[in-house]
């Protein structure tokens, strides 16, 4: 793998919108060309070389690895829309890291701000710290959020993580999130997301969930009243075929949604045994 190294000279006072930093934009360019790439600092157009020391080279997109050092907590949109290659960020990073990316991998060795991996289309986002709110969520007004790919967060994620996540079994799209602990409204309006929480989870997990599975290995502050308890299970089969073992209490829902696939049979009153719309909480 060919490496390009970026080092932030000084933490910018105003947010720097660095959606230009992707392997797609760097490929086939010399260091001098990369330094000339334009980005927005407030309303001013500046050059990448004004803010970063750059070294290395790039040839093929899938063979490109960008390593960024420094406190990037005021640098937004790194890796937005990228389709291949790798980005490693050593430090905290600002909003929208890896948002709408289609392929490749982004690793953050620090904390990420809000909207990390928002509307992910594919690829992998790994955050070895905490993440802000709206991880993998749909942008305002969009009805289809994260469609594919994986997000791993070692620490906690904020509120409304994976809102409007949109997976599909026939389409073989299984958007997945693994996180340490989660805030409120985890997987709200989920249409087939797979969410695994290693620790605890705040209120209203799986609100308005239509399809998908949420597994919480710790405690949940409060379960929504519209979730119905099914019973205890020893093994879980996730929508993508993966299996998890351990003692879990299975709930179905969200039964307040009209379109819910885990329907209640009007004649027998039983809850449909389909694998959709499930919440598992450690017993």
């Amino acid at each position: 793998m060919v490496e390009i190294k970026l080092k932030l000279k000084k933490k910018p006072e105003l947010p720097l919108e660095a959606d230009i930093i992707t392997p797609d934009n760097f490929v086939g360019k010399s260091v001098a060309d990369i330094k000339k790439l334009e980005l927005y600092y407030g309303k001013e157009v500046v050059k990448l070389g004004d803010f970063f020391d750059i070294s290395g080279k790039s040839t093929d997109i899938n063979d490109t690895k960008i390593i960024i050092d420094g406190d990037l907590s005021n640098v937004k949109r790194i890796g937005e829309n990228m389709s291949g290659g790798e980005i490693t960020i050593n430090g905290n990073v600002g909003m929208h890291v890896g948002s709408q990316m289609k392929g490749g991998k982004v690793t953050v060795n620090g904390n990420a701000d809000d909207w990390a991996g928002a509307m992910l289309q594919g690829g992998e986002l790994e955050i070895n710290g905490d993440a802000g709110h709206y991880v993998g969520a749909a942008y305002r007004g969009f009805w289809q959020g994260m469609k594919n790919g994986t997000i791993k967060v070692k620490g906690k994620v904020g509120n409304e993580t994976l809102a409007w996540v949109n997976g599909s079994k026939p389409g073989k799209r299984f958007p997945k999130l693994i996180c340490g602990s989660a805030g409120a409204f985890l997987g709200i309006h989920s249409h087939g997301g797979i969410i695994i929480v290693e620790g605890d989870c705040d209120r209203c997990a799986g609100a308005d969930q239509i399809r998908g599975a949420i597994v919480v290995k710790g405690k949940v502050t409060k379960i929504l009243p519209s979730y119905k308890k099914i019973g205890e299970v020893g093994e879980i089969e996730l929508p993508n075929g993966e299996k998890l073992t351990g003692k879990f209490i299975e709930y179905s829902g969200d039964h307040s949604v009209d379109k819910n696939h885990s329907k209640i049979d009007k004649k027998t009153g039983e809850i449909s045994k389909s694998s959709n719309g499930r919440l598992y909480i450690a017993a």
Partner: protein
């Protein structure tokens, strides 16, 4: 006794709250050009008319801060200083706009576009969450006349109109006689859902006390019960399941229901998700009967600000022009978040007082950078402003258009002249745009 010459202006639209009452009568002393009597208005609306009278805290001339003190200057000098601040800024913020008329708001959009600024209105600290929810799941809304003539079940959820919109009850929702509700109050069943036993709750037929910040769970339980699901829980958010079932029956059996919701839903925990759930509930209730909902907007023209911004840029609030085209993301481009993160380097506040309403951390950063205030009288914001541009009261001292909470536009009237050198917000922004263009060499 000194003889007074009085002029009465009829059918005045009240520029205070979103109810925008249009039947006020205002008596003006012609000689002194001051308001001496307001009829038909509520307490808060009437007070606004009186506050336009000459007083010690009305600004009569533009001011610039020099050596920590305000000094009166000419319009030219003040506009020049203001334009200087805005042109030099890398990330200016334009905030306010909800208590002025639509023509001034559209000038604000123009200025923001020229400057590449961030444009926001007070919806971002009040009914912004309602707009977010509407963008997510749509909204079944109507005009207030429909509710007045048809509604037989009225729910006030997290709103207290007795104090916030005093004439709403008498004009549209509770006591008024409608075409199909000939007996007024007796023809309507009023439900109030609120953590506090408010004065609105005390005149309701049914009061449901919900635990603070747990509205989402209650709406969720109502929705599930409406679908015929037997809930596992015995009690949700402090309300028993029996009571929820009773409520659902009531909702299903009414002829025409409406939910009026206020800041009790939008600004408690879960914010826009409360509205999201309330909208979904309303939508599902339409399988059984006719049901609508309506946000109780606060400022008289905050709806207008959302409308004007939307038809100009596509977005209702929290708009960023820094890339030359409008982008929208509340939480990233909304004023409070920007100020707390210290991401703006100058601000222009139009007809608003963020210093009294924003969190302390945000206000601290607001005062750290150059600040311009377009304001009729002294407020905590204008007192710390570097440039103060004195404005006339829209709807009292100048004409304009305002949108009622149900998005009905009404023409504001001018009842008296503005004192001193005050200009309308629209004129001030127009002159400022000219100055800014001059400085940018356009």
């Amino acid at each position: 006794m000194v003889e007074r010459k009085i002029k009465t202006v009829y059918d005045v639209v009240c520029p205070f709250c979103g109810t925008l009452c249009d039947d006020l009568e205002v008596d003006i002393d012609i000689k002194e050009d001051s308001v001496i009597e307001v009829r038909n208005g509520c307490q808060i609306g009437t007070k606004k008319f009186f506050s336009s009278n000459p007083s010690g805290h009305r600004y009569l001339k533009p001011r610039i801060k020099a050596n920590g003190e305000h000094k009166e200057v000419s319009w030219d000098e003040a506009l020049d200083a203001a334009a200087d601040i805005l042109v030099k800024a890398k990330r200016p913020l334009l905030y306010g706009f909800s208590s002025t008329e639509c023509e001034a708001q559209s000038k604000g959009v123009e200025l923001a576009e020229i400057l590449g600024a961030i444009l926001d209105n007070t919806a971002s600290v009040c009914h912004g969450p309602s707009l977010l929810a509407i963008q997510d799941v749509g909204a079944p809304l109507s005009t207030l006349g429909e509710y007045k003539n048809r509604a037989d079940l009225v729910i006030f959820w997290g709103s207290n109109p007795v104090h916030a919109h005093p004439r709403h009850l008498g004009r549209y929702s509770e006591f008024v006689r409608g075409y199909f509700r000939k007996d007024g109050r007796n023809d309507r069943f009023i439900i109030v859902v609120d953590p506090r036993n408010t004065h609105t709750a005390q005149i309701a037929d049914l009061y449901i006390q919900v635990k603070p910040n747990e509205d989402y769970e209650l709406i969720n339980a109502i929705r599930a019960t409406l679908r015929g699901v037997e809930l596992d829980a015995k009690e949700v958010s402090g309300v028993s399941i029996e009571k929820i079932r009773e409520l659902v029956e009531m909702l299903k059996l009414c002829n025409f229901g409406v939910i009026f919701f206020g800041m009790g839903l939008t600004q408690t925990l879960a914010h826009h998700r409360n509205i999201d759930a309330a909208i979904c509930l309303t939508r599902e209730l339409n399988d059984h009967t006719k049901f609508l909902l309506e946000p109780m907007r606060g400022h008289y023209n905050v709806t207008g600000a959302n409308q004007v911004f939307t038809w100009n840029t596509g977005y209702a609030y929290s708009i960023d022009f820094s890339r030359g085209y409008p982008r929208y993301n509340p939480g990233e481009f909304s004023s409070v978040d920007l100020l707390i993160k210290d991401e703006v380097d100058s601000s222009l506040i139009v007809a608003s007082d963020p210093a009294s309403n924003f969190p302390a951390a945000a206000v601290k950063n607001l005062f750290k950078h150059p600040l311009i205030s377009i304001e009729p009288h002294e407020t905590p914001t204008s007192a710390f402003a570097d440039v103060v541009l004195p404005a006339a009261f829209a709807g009292i001292e100048c004409e304009g258009t305002a949108y009622r909470m149900d998005k009905v536009p009404l023409r504001l009237r001018k009842v008296k002249e503005a004192p001193g050198e005050c200009l309308s917000d629209k004129d001030i922004l127009e002159k400022l745009i000219e100055k800014v263009k001059e400085k940018l060499g356009e």
